[in-house]
Symmetry: C2
Subunit: 182 residues, 2 copies
């Protein structure tokens, strides 16, 4: 594995430190040649696939500023400073959807864009949601939508779900459910 990790950092420049992201630009040397590495720093986050007793899954529809589009996504959010992923998942789920998870199972951890960003997401599954108390964040404007898995997968096939973490979670559930069906 060592031959894949053979860079040497010559200089690190902090270009930006913000509310959600930071940006570093490094000069690195690999095999005697100099390269630039641009790195977006992110605190990490969570995404939650939960199911009500009838199997329906809470989604949120919200405006996403970077592409100026309204996207349909699973509830998600970034970690607060010092916050554990599981606590964050419980908080974000209830804040965004008004449902509470009786049981949160960590399914996967993954990097959303490993080529240029260190954002690590923890994906939780909850098979048993109950009504909680909705407290949307002050600058969050969203609509909750309840969809069955097959309904959501159809929307995905039709290109109506454009969020990568949401697609992963849906296909994971589909693959898992199919595998457990005799």
């Amino acid at each position: 594995m060592s031959k894949l990790r053979r860079h040497r950092v010559i200089e690190r420049r902090r270009v930006y430190s913000g509310k959600i992201v930071g940006l570093e630009v490094d000069r690195v040397q690999i095999d005697g040649r100099e390269h630039v590495r641009e790195v977006v720093r992110h605190p990490g986050g969570v995404v939650i696939l939960g199911q009500l007793p009838d199997g329906r899954i809470p989604f949120v529809r919200q405006h996403r500023y970077p592409m100026d589009e309204v996207l349909l996504e699973l509830p998600a959010g970034k970690l607060d400073p010092g916050e554990a992923p599981e606590a964050s998942a419980a908080r974000e789920l209830e804040e965004e959807t008004g449902y509470r998870a009786m049981d949160l199972q960590l399914v996967h951890r993954f990097y959303s864009s490993p080529g240029f960003c260190d954002e690590l997401l923890s994906f939780f599954f909850s098979p048993c949601l109950v009504p909680g108390q909705s407290k949307p964040e002050e600058d969050e404007i969203l609509e909750v939508e309840l969809l069955g898995l097959d309904e959501a997968l159809l929307l995905a096939e039709e290109g109506e779900i454009l969020d990568l973490k949401t697609l992963t979670a849906l296909y994971w559930l589909k693959a898992t459910r199919d595998a457990s069906t005799p």
Copy 2:
């Protein structure tokens, strides 16, 4: 939908323009209150899940600078200026793995991190790879690995695959294959 899209941009500041990413920091007004929106700009990219005649899938193992880890991923890359996603997919696949796709099917387009980044990825599937000619990019150092789908899914379950787009593609193939099995 209009109630979800009601911001007004007060000021846009270009903080950085680089080789792969750009960074903009906007001041926006929503319902009379001012907020900051940090946006990472990215040219977009591709990811390719291809299968050899025996069903094996080419993966690449490479060092990812942002987290200083070696990750196992499907071949992928960013779009060159003016390059169509399909041409990019054909190019990246052959450059990274040495295999050529006889047929590239666009399965999905998705945003990797819609909360703060506009990166749009096109995911292609190719059921029929043939040997091509490998031409790794000058600053790309990677190892090619051939894995069956079940083998790859086992690695995913064990937490050995940490790249989100790779997980999506694998679970998509698993879900699709299971659905077509009588």
